[in-house]
Symmetry: C2
Subunit: 210 residues, 2 copies
């Protein structure tokens, strides 16, 4: 029974992710969420007793984990592979949505009302972004980059990709994303090959696949 019961719950979360990506936080009302998920309004409160902030924060957490899983897998092949997986994920969302959808995590950050509902949505967004940063900086450290450079570079990667997504939505073209992707990839390639050379090959082979 549990599985069947969870179907509308998952559908509500999926709808929340989609609306956040496209329209942002404020304009995603609980009523609209229920309507788009083809679920009765009462069921949203059944699954999410704390209402919209709870549903939104679960949607953000789920999106964050999806990207973290992609990163985790790809980073086992090194930081450039991790970056490429991150880029591929966002590039397909832009292309498939014809520049109408972006990152649901950043959508929450762009809205002052994200502090409502005891700050649940904002806390979920911050947690997702911190986890991506942690994973990327760990990948960079394993490729020989020192701290605090590795953490700063991880922030830089996330910031420039998130910014590029929004530039593409503004100009309705993939060009800003591709320009940013190219520059970031070549920078990272140069920096990590320097790091690996400086620290010797031992470090590289000692990397543990998570």
């Amino acid at each position: 029974m549990k599985h069947e019961e969870d179907v509308p719950r998952e559908r509500l979360i999926g709808t929340a992710v989609d609306l956040l990506r496209r329209r942002g936080l404020s304009s995603t009302s609980i009523r609209e969420l229920a309507k788009h998920a083809n679920a009765p309004l009462g069921s949203t409160y059944h699954y999410f007793p704390a209402g919209k902030p709870q549903l939104i924060s679960e949607a953000v957490t789920q999106s964050g984990r999806h990207v973290s899983a992609l990163l985790n897998k790809a980073l086992a092949e090194g930081p450039v592979a991790g970056l490429e997986a991150f880029l591929t994920n966002w590039r397909s969302i832009l292309i498939e949505s014809e520049f109408k959808a972006g990152c649901p995590v950043i959508a929450v950050a762009a809205d002052d009302s994200s502090g409502e509902g005891e700050g649940l949505p904002l806390a979920a967004a911050a947690e997702a972004l911190r986890e991506w940063e942690r994973l990327i900086s760990q990948g960079l450290a394993e490729a020989g980059m020192e701290e605090p450079e590795a953490s700063a570079m991880a922030t830089f990667i996330i910031a420039s990709v998130e910014g590029a997504i929004l530039l593409c939505r503004a100009v309705q073209s993939i060009t800003p994303f591709d320009n940013v992707a190219k520059l970031l990839t070549s920078q990272l390639r140069a920096q990590t090959s320097r790091g690996t050379r400086a620290r010797g090959a031992g470090k590289r082979s000692a990397r543990i696949v998570r």
Copy 2:
């Protein structure tokens, strides 16, 4: 008379900029705009006969021009000075708003409904971003960077700063912005001094102050 008549118009635009920065496009209704600007609802249609899309696009255009003017002035001192002026502008908005406000131009890009009103708001956002890119890439070209590298680097600067603004709003801290600012500044310093060296000092002294 004209000046006095324009006061509520300017106040409406200022309010639109402020609400866009904080809450985004969809949740900024014309009713709320009038209320926050302390103006009768009718006056919004008096000044902006096409309603919200017209008011929003004027707010975006005005914000875009404000930043373009800052850039234009600072870039006369070279690309690093231009970047620093761009960074200072956004950093103060983050700090003064306690991370509750960001960039009104990007706020429009983050919302699928920005294509409404015959696409006026989205077109204004795209135009503002293109103008910033044009100014920065021109500054880079004058410091010796070739095309298409100069344009790609200009996009990269705007994307990473815009992304950093949103990361700060998510984690409620200036750290992501300062990390991105530091990396960008040192990269740009290295790239433009290389460019200047490669092209000789003649290029530098030939730069025309706009």
